[in-house]
Amino acid sequence: MFGILNSYFSNDLAIDLGTANTLIYVRGKGIVLDEPSVVAIRQEGGPAGKKTLLAVGLEAKRMLGRAPANITAIRPMKDGVIADFTITEQMLKYFIRKIHESRLFSPNPRIIICVPVGSTQVERRAIRESAIGAGARQVYLIEEPMAAAIGANMPVADATGSMVVDVGGGTTEVGVISLGGIVYAKSERVGGDKFDQAIIDYIRRNYGMQISEPTAELIKKKIGSAFPGSEVLEMEVTGRNLAEGLPRKFTISSNEILEALTEPLNAIVGAVKSALEQTPPELGADIAEKGMVLTGGGALLRNLDRLIVEETGLPVVVAEDPLTCVARGSGRALEEMDRLGNIFASE
C-alpha cells in the first residue's frame, strides 16, 4: 500500500552516474540535473572527528584542489565504477533529494542506472546497493552503450548493425547493437580523466611544471586535439615550476597536446578496432555503410572523429548533444520501461 502511495509521490528516475558528471532524467520532465560527480567533505576536530557533507556537485567541484586540510573534495566514481561506496550513496541521496524538493514524504523512486559494459558483478552490485541506499524502491541497470545508442536515436530495435563509441570520463564503451541487444561490447578504462592525466604527465616531463587536474581539463577542452588539424592552437598555462617551486607561466600548443594524448587515444582506437574485428560480417557491412556514432564528453575532443575515420576507414558521425546521450537514452528507456524487458542488464 505504501509502495503505491510512494510511487504516486516519487518520480521515476534515470541516472547516468558518470565518472565526471551525473545526469538525472525525471520521467515526464527530461534531464533536470547535470552536475559534476564531486563531493566535498569537511572533517571536524581532528582525524577522529565527525565528517559532514559540505557540498555536492558544482559547488564541490570548485573546491577541487583549493580546499584546506580539513576539507576534502572527493570524486567517488573512478573508471566508471564506484571507488567510494559511502560517498557515492550520499551523493546520490543528495541529488535525489534535490530533484524531489518540497516533498512531504521521503522520495522512493524506481531508478534506471547506467553501468559500464565491462564492469564486474561486484561493481554492478555496488552501484545497485548504493542506489537502494539512496532510497530507490527498485533499481534497473542498463549498459552504457545501449543507453548511448538509444539516446543518439539509432535504430537499436531494427535488424541492422549500429555501432556506438561512448567516450566518457572514466571509460570508453564500444558497442555493436542489433535487434534491441548488444551483439558485441568492449569497455576500455580510458576516458576524459586519462586524457587529463596524460596532459599533466606530459607537461611535468617536458616542461618540468606541475599543473592541477582542473587546469589539465581546461587545456584539453581549449586546445586538445586528437588528429593534426588545419590550424595550430596555443594556450598560456600557469603551473608550479618543479625546480624552482614557484608559479610560472608557459605556452603550450595543440600539437604538443596531441602528442601527450597519443597513448590514451591509441587505447580507444584499439578498442574500436577490436570491436570491429569481433563483429559478425553481416553487421560489419551495415556499419561500413552507416558508420559509427561517437557520443560522450570525449566526442567533443577536437578531431577525435577524424582520427577514428583515418584509423578504421569507416565513416564516423558525432552525435548531436553527445554529453547527454546516455542520460537521454536511459530516460527514453525509463519512459518505455513497462514495455521493455530485455534491454536491462542483469547483475
Binding site: 536515436n153 539509432m154 555503410e289 558508420g291 565513416p315 518505455e336 534491454i343
Partner: protein
C-alpha cells in the same frame, strides 16, 4: 587538405533551403575537388556523396546519421553546416524517435507442449475429484442421515419388563407424548411426570391376547412397499398405535422409524434380549442381523427373508 588550408573560403548563404545538394556541389567544385576526393576523406561511398549532392535521401541512412554526414561534409568543404542542416529539415521536418521495442508475437517456444500436458492433467484431476465427491455423497450421505440418533426417541424406549396388562389407547398417548418435548413436560407438572412415566410401558414377554386380532397372520413383505393410499384403508381398520416386538438371538442393530420419520429405536440389541416398540405405522425398519432377529408385528411373525439382502433387512410395515 593543404590547399584548403591555404584558401579558406567563406561560403555561407542563408538562401540554401531546398538547394542543399547544389550548395554542396558548388562548394566542392570551387575547391577543385572530385567526388572521389570527398569519398576518400569522409570514407563515404561515391554513391552516398552523389546522393547528398542530388538531394536523394532515400539511399542514405536514418536522418540522425544523414545529418552527421552533412555536418562532416560541410566540415570537409569548410562551410558552415547550420544552414545546411536547416535546409535538410525541409526534407525531413520531424525526426521521429526510433523504436526501442522489438515487435514480438510473444509466442513462447518449448513450453507449449508442457502447458498442453498441464491442461490435461488439471482436467483429469478435476474429473477425479468430482467423481470421488459424487461417490462419497451417494454412499455415505444417506447413511449419515439415517444414523442420526434422536434423543427423544431413544428416551421413549425402555427395556421390556414383565407387566400385567397393556392398554392400547394408553400406549397411543404414550407415543404422542414422545413426539412432544419431553423436557418441557418434565418441568411442567407432577401429573405430566406421571404420564411420562407411563410411557415406559411394561410389556409382558408373552404376546397379549387382547391386542388387535383383525390382522393377517403374517405380514407379507409385498404389502410393505405399498403406496400410502392403500395403507390408509388399513390404518382406519387398526387402532392408532401398533406394536412391534423384536426377539434377538444374536447381536443385531435395529432401527425403527414411524410415519413421521421419528426414530423410535436405534441401537444395538444384545443377544437374547427383546424389545417392544409402539408407534404409528407405517414403520420403516432396518435390521442389521436379519438371521438373528425375529420380528413380531401386531403379534404376527413377519417373514424377513424376502426383504433381506446380505443379512440386512430393510422393510416397511403398515
Amino acid at each position: 587538405m593543404s590547399e584548403l588550408t591555404e584558401h579558406p573560403e567563406k561560403i555561407i548563404e542563408a538562401n540554401v533551403t531546398l538547394k542543399l545538394g547544389e550548395f554542396f556541389t558548388e562548394a566542392r567544385e570551387s575547391k577543385n575537388l572530385t567526388l572521389e576526393d570527398a569519398s576518400n576523406s569522409l570514407r563515404l561511398s561515391v554513391k552516398q556523396i552523389t546522393a547528398l549532392e542530388t538531394n536523394d535521401f532515400s539511399i542514405l541512412p536514418e536522418p540522425m546519421l544523414t545529418r552527421g554526414f552533412i555536418r562532416n561534409y560541410a566540415k570537409f568543404l569548410e562551410i558552415d553546416p547550420e544552414p545546411l542542416l536547416l535546409a535538410y529539415r525541409h526534407f525531413f521536418p520531424i525526426d521521429a524517435p526510433q523504436s526501442i521495442v522489438i515487435q514480438s508475437s510473444n509466442v513462447s517456444i518449448g513450453s507449449g507442449k508442457n502447458s498442453l500436458w498441464l491442461k490435461y492433467i488439471v482436467a483429469s484431476v478435476l474429473i477425479i475429484i468430482i467423481l470421488a465427491g459424487w461417490i462419497l455423497y451417494r454412499d455415505y450421505m444417506p447413511n449419515l442421515h439415517l444414523n442420526e440418533p434422536k434423543p427423544d426417541a431413544i428416551s421413549s424406549i425402555k427395556p421390556i419388563k414383565n407387566t400385567p396388562d397393556d392398554d392400547s389407547s394408553q400406549t397411543s398417548n404414550v407415543v404422542e407424548a414422545t413426539h412432544d418435548e419431553i423436557a418441557a413436560q418434565m418441568n411442567d407438572s407432577q401429573t405430566d411426570k406421571n404420564s411420562s412415566q407411563t410411557q415406559v410401558v411394561p410389556v409382558p414377554i408373552e404376546p397379549p391376547a387382547a391386542a388387535t386380532d383383525k390382522k393377517p397372520d403374517i405380514v407379507k413383505p409385498e404389502a410393505i412397499h405399498k403406496e400410502p393410499t392403500v395403507q390408509a384403508s388399513m390404518d382406519s381398520a387398526q387402532p392408532s398405535g401398533s406394536k412391534l416386538r423384536f426377539s434377538v438371538s444374536e447381536n443385531s442393530w435395529i432401527k425403527v422409524q414411524d410415519n413421521s420419520n421419528k426414530e423410535l429405536l436405534s441401537k444395538l440389541e444384545p443377544a437374547g434380549s427383546e424389545e417392544e416398540v409402539i408407534g404409528e405405522p407405517p414403520f420403516r425398519i432396518v435390521i442389521g442381523n436379519a438371521r438373528g432377529t425375529k420380528l413380531m408385528y401386531q403379534d404376527k411373525t413377519v417373514d424377513l427373508a424376502p426383504s433381506t439382502n446380505n443379512n440386512v433387512a430393510h422393510l416397511t410395515l403398515e
